[in-house]
Symmetry: C2
Subunit: 478 residues, 2 copies
Amino acid sequence: MKLSVTLVLFLCHNIWSYDYETKYFEVLLDHFSFTNNATFKLKYLINDTFWTNDGPIFFYTGNEGTVENFAENTGFMFDIAPSFNALVVFAEHRYYGESLPFGNDSFVSPSHIGYLTSSQALADFVDLINYLQTMSLEKVPVIAFGGSYGGMLASWLRMKYPASVVGAIAASAPIWQFETPCEDFYKVVTRVYQEAVAKDCPLLITKSWTALRNISESPEGKAWLSDAWQLCSPLETSADVETLIGWYSEILVNMAMVNYPYSTSFLAPLPPFPVKTFCSQLTQANIVDDKSLVMALGDALQIYTNFTETTTCNKINQTAEALGEEGWYFQACTEMIMPMCSIDGDMFENDPWDYGKYASQCFEKWGVNQTHPELPVLEYGGKEIKAASNIVFSNGLLDPWSSGGVLKNVSESVVSVIIPDGAHHIDLRGGNKDDPETVIEARQFHVDNIKKWIMEFYFHSGKGAFFEKIKYQHVARN
Amino acid sequence: MKLSVTLVLFLCHNIWSYDYETKYFEVLLDHFSFTNNATFKLKYLINDTFWTNDGPIFFYTGNEGTVENFAENTGFMFDIAPSFNALVVFAEHRYYGESLPFGNDSFVSPSHIGYLTSSQALADFVDLINYLQTMSLEKVPVIAFGGSYGGMLASWLRMKYPASVVGAIAASAPIWQFETPCEDFYKVVTRVYQEAVAKDCPLLITKSWTALRNISESPEGKAWLSDAWQLCSPLETSADVETLIGWYSEILVNMAMVNYPYSTSFLAPLPPFPVKTFCSQLTQANIVDDKSLVMALGDALQIYTNFTETTTCNKINQTAEALGEEGWYFQACTEMIMPMCSIDGDMFENDPWDYGKYASQCFEKWGVNQTHPELPVLEYGGKEIKAASNIVFSNGLLDPWSSGGVLKNVSESVVSVIIPDGAHHIDLRGGNKDDPETVIEARQFHVDNIKKWIMEFYFHSGKGAFFEKIKYQHVARN
């Protein structure tokens, strides 16, 4: 059973290409009790190049990773900031990047890591927004942006704190994953591989699990496989084999998530349409038995593991080493419990959802008993969000996380935009000449909604003149 | 400076006249961190006499006191439950009544009392509602009710957890008191006394402060005053005099709050229109100097202190002894910081608002530094609540707390109902033959809104048939 599927991984570090200043803001460790007064520094990135001091604030609600990664992969905010005269801010999520409440000790015990919850993160953002408002003479409208878990946070920020943000662009935000049938996620992944080239591709993957298990049964097989897949540490135990299976499975998922139409370096340096490239290579290989299948897979996986041709060997426990993942592992064990399973009909090895086993693994790792797995649904309302307002949920149908996304309009102002051929929050990325028309349309939809929310803000605050100015500017500029 | 004005006091214990079972529900001590798994038992009262298992739940969000007191003084819920086939529930607020997380130690240190926050209380209610829902086969609509701080909680419950409650009746809920000019509260109290009989009454009260101070300067004066006002412990120090002034001032406020048109025992056993009775007696007295004024006041105060003619002497530190007040004192020091002051123009002794002094008194008492006094405004949005829905705010204009109330419609479904001659949440009380027409109209307004919310609930859940049944029943019964 997969313990948790990481929403976003950051294994590679880009050279940053957007401009911003790095700043820090002191936040309370615990916003919801008065048992202590501890504080820590939350990192945020800020760019005021386009800001006119009375323009809106574009606020990215950081998710599970170093905030620079989100800034670098959310070019959309920079692209549209000039036409809105907007201040651009990316806030780091507590317990990720540099925003560690207890420094290196942040993960050592429940009394340290226990404050890693979405509610506390939202309260951090509210306080930071309140501080940013002091940069203007009068209150300005704030738009929340976020992708993946960051998109969940953006939508929840609007739901819980509508006085702080006038609206939210929630891209690929699986807020309903808690209640989605556990098999849906891997079904979508399978569909991505089915539609990439031909059905042969997922069929070969389906066969690969048995092949891998057969081969890795014997010590010789383990040695052969370690060599064939260029592992840094040879497989020795059956636990190593499980790690390998998990690593391989995660790469298949990740390639679907970042199956963008142009070369990116979001999760790993990748060619355009990596799934298509992977499947083309795999289906063209001469496969006659388990070994030739596994060998062909190993070669094809290099599209993900070694696109830059600089990787000398594969670290199959790589993901577990990255600090950001420790935090997400904790969150997946406590609040973000999203049931997932593989069944007959998808291309993955069968793997049932077993909450008891999941919970006991979590307890072993963190010493925390989650006695209220219904917590996120009660806290954020589950599927009953019709009382919310001013949220755009965007989803690519080829994004596995669309299985937990809001795919239909919920109300007049809680609306959905679908990108049929889109991967994981592609709409938040900067414009690219290879963007499909559907992505461009989704971005226009975002811009139209942001305009509407800003106009509403000025209308309600009775600033007719400014409202007219905004209106004019936008019509003229876009 | 008054440290805090208690919203509701319970000095007298009624013989309970409504039927309910007393139950307990286990809740998490801390809903917003995973630092510990501690739980405690929250008390609630439940009456299912009128419930049909698919009827709605009427849920009172308990405030600062033993929950039975709220049940006894919220007869409106019992009055209308039969026509809605409703389950009636009163939930106790954590740290009041029997719902003490650490028993008798609940108030001893920040690490004990620190979990007394409105956010934690709301999360308790959400969990209890979730549990109550399991009593029905299918989800039923829940209506939140509350008066005073309980009304604030009811409205916040709807704002923060709209999936848990379909709407809220928030009676005399001063959710804007945090941002109200500090003098407004005592201005309203003064108006109540002005309109009771004649302007002479507040003028005499205005003079009384100097009279009390003059008399109590000397030891002989203190002795005379102790005797004249029948104090249990004679005044000895200047601190005792301050306590007396505070006690007298609080009675004046309390009489305004419960200035009901019929005899009640909410804060103390009282005649109908206690302020009128008090002012009539005071203005008819033969007042020629400080002593005769103070003597006349002492006599008139017996309307509040000794209406039952069973009080042998007055305990002027009475309010500080009641357990419920310890909790409210803490809340007033941490979250519920509502600036209050008396100025020229009201009938009280001048008393400026000094947050620094207030905060240092709070720190001395609780060892807690409130570094974020803006907390409640950020947490609940302050005056920006137009994104909320399905809340009725009712306010009596002769209720001092109306100074912080929502007195105008905010949106189509966040609406205000004014009871011009109403005192503190009179509309939540059971029907009385002496109810003025305005109170009856306010209650009808509540019923109409509750019906609308329930119909919306069934409409959205696609249960047309049930929706029709509800509609028919209500039209027929009301």
